[in-house]
């Protein structure tokens, strides 16, 4: 008889007023007993609707059954057949709009905690490593991966398993891409990312940090160096600003800069020499996961008041539900249907506030979605000493600009000549993740990396 509780087994967490002062992981993870109790809520439906919601097709009922049976290692391996980085996805996937959205248990009550169970199994495997994976016999073919974020890591892993000699090039000093510079420690501990990277190293993947493809060497020079195919997974690393007056004042950050200073460069540690301002009143503009991350980081480095400013309503916030929930618990204010029109500065060029305008929903547009429009005469000011712009990123142009024959579209995204194979306009160059789609999710990028690995294998074997 399955566990018919209408709610998920609660996730152990520290009290909000304690955790919003430290950077330790908020969701502590299920114990074995909790995981089995939650796994018992799965009805093991024959139709497997959840699997249809997963961008990489993880065999969800199967791995949950293994957890039920107490075979946690087996469960993790089952996930890994389709998803190489489950400890990461279990933490950062927007499950409520993917697998869990389609769960039958969600019709009445909460869906099965698929993400939490995925994380449990993956963590169990990390804590109980079997004999280190042996480096496969080399097939003699060299492949270069540009960028060590989710798409690059999954592409590298798939290729290395097949015996390719893979080198991952990373511009920053640490591998992991957005998983280390963007997503904060309290949501995705860096040690988890490092373990996944170490696993890839054990498979023979080489990581070259401090290497900016397009500058340190171009794509053409990588080909000259003997790489037969190149995967571009350089992400969406060019921050957008609103183009409103005052964005140049000191105290205005892109979310990328704010998060990078705090996460990658450990500005939150007392002995760090990384400069970060210690703001008191912070406005975070935007409503996605990045905005929630920035707001919660601001609180943790000591801000008294942190406000999310978003031009639609709470219903439309693109962030994961769990992040919104956590942010609220931790005392983040949500100011909805508001859009900044100007950032105000003092005589020294420092932020002193923002001027906003209230928004309301207009008529539905062609897509049927209502666009927020400004309410005339509704402008008001809020006092702030820091403003973080978390309104999105577009792909970085360094590679497309320095590579002949590599075309991009109007938004700067790499153009694919074969969407299924993720082939770009340049022979031997494949691309996936945010560099192609614009800013999206970790799991979509990982799925793309995996697909590209297949295409690269076909391409090289077919030569």
């Amino acid at each position: 008889m399955p566990n018919m509780s209408l709610t998920k087994v609660p996730m152990p967490e520290d009290a909000p007023e304690i955790r919003n002062k430290n950077f330790e992981e908020v969701a502590r993870g299920y114990t074995e007993a909790m995981a089995q109790e939650e796994a018992d809520r799965c009805l093991n439906c024959k139709t497997r609707p959840c699997v249809g919601g997963c961008p990489v097709g993880v065999p969800i009922p199967e791995f949950i059954s293994l957890i039920k049976a107490g075979d946690f290692i087996g469960a993790a391996k089952k996930i890994k057949e389709m998803n190489l980085l489950p400890a990461i996805c279990g933490r950062v996937c927007p499950q409520e709009s993917q697998c869990e959205k389609l769960c039958v248990r969600g019709i009445k009550g909460e869906s099965v905690g698929i993400g939490r169970l995925e994380r449990f199994a993956a963590d169990y495997l990390l804590a109980h490593p079997e004999a280190a994976a042996e480096k496969p016999v080399s097939n003699g073919h060299k492949v270069a991966i540009v960028g060590s974020g989710p798409s690059g890591l999954s592409c590298a892993g798939e290729l290395a398993r097949q015996g390719y000699e893979v080198t991952v090039f990373e511009a920053l000093h640490k591998a992991g891409g957005v998983l280390v510079y963007g997503i904060p420690e309290f949501r995705l501990p860096k040690s988890i990312v490092q373990q996944e990277i170490d696993n890839l190293k054990a498979l023979g993947v080489a990581f070259e940090t401090d290497f900016v493809v397009g500058k340190t060497a171009t794509v053409d020079e990588l080909f000259e160096d003997g790489f037969e195919a190149i995967f571009v997974g350089s992400g969406a690393g060019l921050p957008s600003f609103m183009k409103i007056p005052g964005e140049e004042f000191s105290g205005v950050y892109s979310a990328n800069e704010f998060l990078t200073r705090i996460n990658l460069m450990k500005a939150y540690q007392p002995d760090s020499t990384t400069p970060i301002m210690k703001p008191k009143k912070v406005a975070v503009v935007g409503g996605g996961n990045v905005a929630m991350d920035a707001a919660r980081c601001a609180k943790r480095i000591g801000a008294d008041e942190v406000t999310i400013v978003y031009r639609r309503t709470e219903k439309e916030l693109p962030a994961r539900l769990e992040e919104i929930h956590h942010a609220k618990e931790e005392g983040i204010n949500f100011h909805m249907l508001v859009s900044p029109v100007e950032i105000l500065g003092d005589e020294n060029g420092w932020v002193r506030g923002i001027r906003c305008i209230k928004m309301e929903f207009g008529e539905p547009d062609a897509s049927g979605r209502c666009r927020p429009v400004p309410v005339e005469g509704s402008e008001f000011e809020m006092e702030m000493d820091c403003v973080v712009m978390a309104i999105g990123n577009s792909p970085n142009p360094l590679i497309s600009q320095t590579t002949k024959g590599l075309e991009t579209n109007r938004k700067g995204c790499l153009v694919l000549t074969d969407e299924d194979a993720l082939a770009t306009t340049r022979e031997g160059v494949f691309a996936g993740g945010d560099a192609v789609t614009g800013a999206a999710t970790v799991i979509l990028a990982m799925g793309a990396g995996k697909t590209a690995a297949k295409s690269i294998d076909n391409y090289i074997q077919g030569k």
Binding site: H173, K215, S254, P275, M277, G349
Partner: protein, 283 residues
């Protein structure tokens, strides 16, 4: 394989300016005048951008010259030959445009001379007539005099207090050269923001194209953080990928000066952290 970024040569140029030559073959192979690198001194250090002062493709080395102004540059100044930097990435930014120039005035101010020098050298090597004007606060702070002299057709040294060369500002020397009938295709000015501002103001009056090199606060150097943004001709530009060279007549210097002050209060605190580390190491 990854370079080790060992220091192969160190020269203290004056009490506040140090030269380090770093073993970094990959960077040296691609470096051009006007480009910069980003380095970290150690595993917990911040990332700072420094413009490339010189490079030697055969030896595989890149030279940086820096002023000991903040916590990181002071830590860098404490390193010795044989020590290795944690990170040294580049070359970043767009190289200086020097093609087709027949006669150029190169203006360097203080440690900015370290960046102006490779540009002057490249111009000289390609046959451009180079008039160099370098300015310092006083005689003790003069750097690269011999190097500049070797690549310049006219060489002027200015000091604020007159303790060496001519007393006055670089703009005084530039103005008198222009007024004496010298006609420049371009003026290239690299130094303190305030100096670049006034050089640009002067050359605008004369209608001479002027290039300045920006060195704002940045993290990654690839366009990712947006911290290095500045306003050029009313448009937001990222110094790391759109620059560091910009049209001096279009840059909003006042805004940049304010932005560059952003971490001044923090620097003092970081200095303390650094000093604490030093004390612990000595203890």
């Amino acid at each position: 394989m990854r370079d080790l970024f060992k220091i192969v040569n160190k020269k203290v140029l004056n009490p506040t300016v140090t030269l380090l030559e770093i073993d970094a073959p990959r960077v040296a192979k691609k470096a051009e005048p006007g480009q910069f690198i980003i380095l970290r001194v150690d595993e917990n250090g911040e990332r700072i951008p420094l413009t490339i002062a010189d490079f030697d493709r055969e030896r595989g080395t890149v030279t940086i010259i820096f002023q000991l102004v903040g916590a990181t540059t002071k830590a860098l100044g404490m390193m010795e030959v044989g020590d290795a930097l944690a990170d040294f990435v580049g070359p970043l930014g767009t190289p200086s445009h020097t093609e087709g120039l027949k006669k150029v005035a190169v203006i360097g101010g203080g440690v900015g001379c370290a960046i102006a020098y490779p540009v002057a050298k490249k111009l000289h090597e390609q046959g451009t007539v180079v008039h160099s004007i370098v300015g310092f606060r006083n005689q003790d702070l003069v750097i690269l005099e011999d190097e500049f002299t070797a690549v310049s057709d006219i060489m002027k040294i200015m000091t604020d207090d007159g303790s060496y060369g001519t007393k006055g500002l670089v703009t005084d020397a530039l103005k008198s050269l222009i007024d004496s009938g010298e006609e420049y295709d371009e003026v290239i000015a690299i130094g303190p923001v305030i100096m670049m501002k006034f050089v640009s103001k002067l050359t605008k009056e004369y209608g001479i194209k002027t290039t300045v090199s920006m060195n704002p606060i940045m993290i990654d150097g690839t366009g990712m953080c947006g911290g290095c943004r500045l306003t050029v001709g009313g448009e937001t530009k990222f110094a790391c990928v759109d620059g560091p060279d910009f049209d001096g007549h279009l840059v909003d210097f006042d805004q940049l000066m304010k932005r560059n002050m952003m971490y001044k209060p923090f620097e003092q605190e970081a200095d303390c952290n650094l000093l604490k580390k030093g004390e612990n190491a000595n203890a």
